[in-house]
Amino acid sequence: MIMATLVSPTVGAAVKLRRLNRLNRWTVGAVFAALLVFIPIGSVLFLSLGDSGDVWPHLIGTALPEYVGTTLLLLLGVGVSVFLTGVTTAWLVTMCRFPGRRIFEWLLLFPLAIPAYVMAYAYTDLLEYAGPVQSSLRALFGWQSARDYFFPPVRSLGGAIMFMGLVLYPYVYLLARSAFLEQSVSVLEVSRVLGKGPWQTFKTVSFPAARPAIVVGVSLALMETLNDYGTVDFFAVYTLTAGLIDVWLGMGSLAGGAQIASSMLVFVILLIFLERMSRRHQKVYQQASSRFKTLPTYSLKGWPSALAFGLCALPVIAGFVVPVLVLGQLSIVYFDRSWTPEFKSYALNSLTLSAGAALVTLLVALFIAYARRLRGGRVLRVATRAASLGYAVPGAVLAVGILIPFAIFDNALDALMRDWFGVSSGLLLSGTVAAVTFAYVVRFLAVAVGQVESSLEKISPSVDMAARTLGFRAGQTLIRYHLPLIRAGLLTAVMVVFVDCMKELPATLLLRPFNFETLATYVYRFASDEMLGEAALGSLTIVAVGLLPVAFLSRMISRSRQLYPSPSTGDA
């Protein structure tokens, strides 16, 4: 009787001991997803360790040393360039006061919207022999031909370094800026009280403390550099990526491509190592603080002020304004020839493919992040780590890592189907949209997982416990009580992944179905055919879409500055 009244009619017989497995459904699912994502990375690793056949001697005897040398020079050049630009601008906007500083704070992010290859196309059109700059110079000085004057060649290693530096420095800028902002005000003040000038303070206090963040920024920029195919191909700069795709598509040797891919892994691993090491230091130096304190800024007047303005304006003008103007002008001139039914269908392809991939990425990320929240565990942690390596692996290398296992699977399935049913299943995975989508998920999963995890972290674990004791299962808790709270974070994740997919070139190029074009491959194809005018509208569209997350980041930056100098408690 007593028991009967106490057993709630709503819960009833559910009160049953349930076996505790080390791996519950969430963990198993998340580990499985993580392993799936690790397949391409793992298969390249496996290939690099496996028997190389006779491709190696050939490669080493011919092109490989050149590929490696060029890649090193490119990485070095871009590294120095993004370091100087990023750190200088970040220091100026955080530590100095000069006209326009507030605006530059977010304007300096804008070059991030432009893929390097679009940058290369725009500047080539502007600076090549027949372009407006050289034509004007010739008209002005009366030069007749290229022999009459010197003009640095645009399509060169130097050009590649310059243009990549101009679109990749925001990585360094963003991280250095927040590192400077999070520095202890009192330490900076002490340094000034001790009579150290701005340069001395920078050298002895600000820079050393921000160095880990700066190194993280540089290594991210270098990962992008290693990934680039559009620019180096257009400029005929033979990096490893260019070599890989040349060997694969040009010579039709996937095995050769795989060998180059595995040698690229050395660079990838070094960059990951550099980044992870620095992130560890970053945690020590930067006390995470959500509030922006009033930094002891230097008021600039006269010449120094003009110089600071110029130093900040230059990357914005060269990295954003000029290419957008060039592309805009070209788009207008070539509009009739560009705005075709094909263009619209390619744009639609890009849109659906990127949106689909972004959603899949988000779902996988949400699943993994929530499984980790439910139950940590080393298995899951290692699996997620492995799956998150994709962002560092160049798209071309990923493509190799995807195509080989997919082809093996397709062939095996095809053989099976023929044997059993006498029908051919054909290519089920390789050369389909599924392969491209998979590549996007692998490459951009880390971004999404990071975003989802940081959103979830803001929800107190006691909210989970409250929901569970109120009668909701783990999945119900996620849907009813977490999703409404992390909506904004999820939206950001989808947007960032979506835009990255839109811009992605090498993996798309290598894995897309026959005759399937996206905006990125279409732009690349026209540019390769020296039809820059026709490529302009597509390029401009990519830039416009790319502005989405940049605008979002800018808004966050300008918003965070509004809070200051009266910091509010972060309740909302």
């Binding site: 007593i2 076996r19 004791t469």
Partner: protein
């Protein structure tokens, strides 16, 4: 056999029937043993408290009872139903426990009404509204029903959290440092209010806290925890006046320990003189002892035998808490009425007036 009698004895049995039984559980926290072979029993309608310093494992015990933490030995029973065993457990959503947290853990995107209704989603619409209305009324929240949590004060948020936890009529209410996020004044007030409400509704409750005032305000019984074990399970009065070991004596209330030894079954000798014991001592003569002196055991007496110098003082309203140092260098805590006002450096005379002698055997020989 006579009917009424049988009924009565049945009723008595059900009243004292344990609602929660924790039998010899051990738990790990981040790969280290945090709870050792811990047992406790809570009867229906009882409010108990687990009190201990941070890191003593009290929250882990609470999480194990709620079903968020696996156990490595023993078992947990709610209402005679095993809910945790080694390697198996009833998931938290099926245990019928309510939980209140330090940070309240209100759902920020829901109104007060929706928060309180959260645990009633299986009830039909009509009776759900009724239950919620009743609960809001009882908590004095009716006027705030359509506000969002961030629009409420700390005390109101606390009440919403309690209302939300109680609305589904849980068998057992668990509270994890429920008053820690409130300021001192509100905290005492809320402690009393919550205690009254729980008593009135006959809610069985387990609270964990590191604050003895919270524990004493709410707990019929208090278990003092240290390093993963309950070191004393007793009423608040006994914990203060009859601590069963050094840790409890030190942790609860103020006080200092004097070294001494047994002189006779009724007396101990200390550097400040012989002290009589109200109960016969169980130790043989010359056993080294520690004697607990509460501040109220040290009495201001201008003719007292002990001379001491004031080294610090803290004003506590009606009384002043002094820290004294005797000529022999022994530190004492003493509570004097406010009108006996001394400055730091003053010499005072005191005597010891110990009603009930609290002594422990000294673990290591005295030097």
């Amino acid at each position: 056999m006579d009917h009424p009698d049988q009924l009565r004895s049945g009723a008595v049995r059900s009243d004292s029937q344990p609602l929660l039984e924790v039998r010899g559980i051990s738990c790990n926290y981040e790969l280290e043993r945090a709870v050792f072979d811990l047992s406790l029993t809570v009867h229906r309608g009882e409010q108990v408290c687990l009190l201990g310093p941070s890191g003593c494992g009290k929250t882990t015990v609470l999480r194990a009872i709620a079903g968020f933490h696996p156990i490595l030995t023993g078992g947990i029973f709610i209402n005679d139903q095993q809910v945790s065993a080694v390697g198996a457990m009833v998931p938290p959503e099926s245990r019928r426990v309510g939980m209140v947290f330090q940070d309240h853990a209100l759902f920020p995107h829901l109104t007060v009404r929706q928060n309180v209704a959260a645990g009633l989603s299986r009830l039909p619409e009509g009776s759900r509204g009724e239950s919620v209305g009743e609960m809001l009324e009882r908590m004095g929240l009716s006027h705030h029903a359509d506000r969002f949590p961030h629009e409420l004060s700390g005390g109101q948020q606390q009440r919403v959290a309690l209302a939300r936890a109680l609305a589904p009529r849980p068998l057992l209410l668990l509270m994890d440092e429920p008053f820690s996020s409130l300021d001192q004044e509100l905290r005492e007030h809320m402690g009393q209010e919550v205690s009254d409400m729980l008593k009135e509704s006959g809610t069985t409750c387990v609270m964990v806290t590191h604050d003895q005032h919270d524990a004493f305000a709410l707990g019929d019984k208090v278990g003092v925890m240290s390093e993963g074990s309950i070191v004393q399970w007793d009423t608040p009065y006994n914990l203060y006046h009859q601590p069963s070991n050094h840790f409890v004596a030190d942790f609860i209330g103020n006080g200092v320990f004097l070294c001494g030894e047994v002189v006779s079954p009724q007396e101990v000798s200390t550097p400040l003189g012989i002290l009589p014991s109200d109960e016969p001592l169980i130790w043989s003569s010359q056993t080294p002892l520690e004697i607990l002196l509460r501040p109220d055991d040290v009495v201001y007496d201008p003719a007292g035998p002990i001379q001491a110098r004031v080294t610090s003082r803290a004003f506590q309203g009606a009384q002043l808490l002094y820290t004294l140092r005797t000529l022999e260098g022994i530190k004492l805590l003493a509570l004097f009425p406010s009108h006996a006002n001394f400055e730091i450096g003053d010499d005072v005379r005191v005597r010891l007036d110990v009603d009930h002698l609290v002594v422990f055997e000294h673990d290591t020989p005295l030097d």
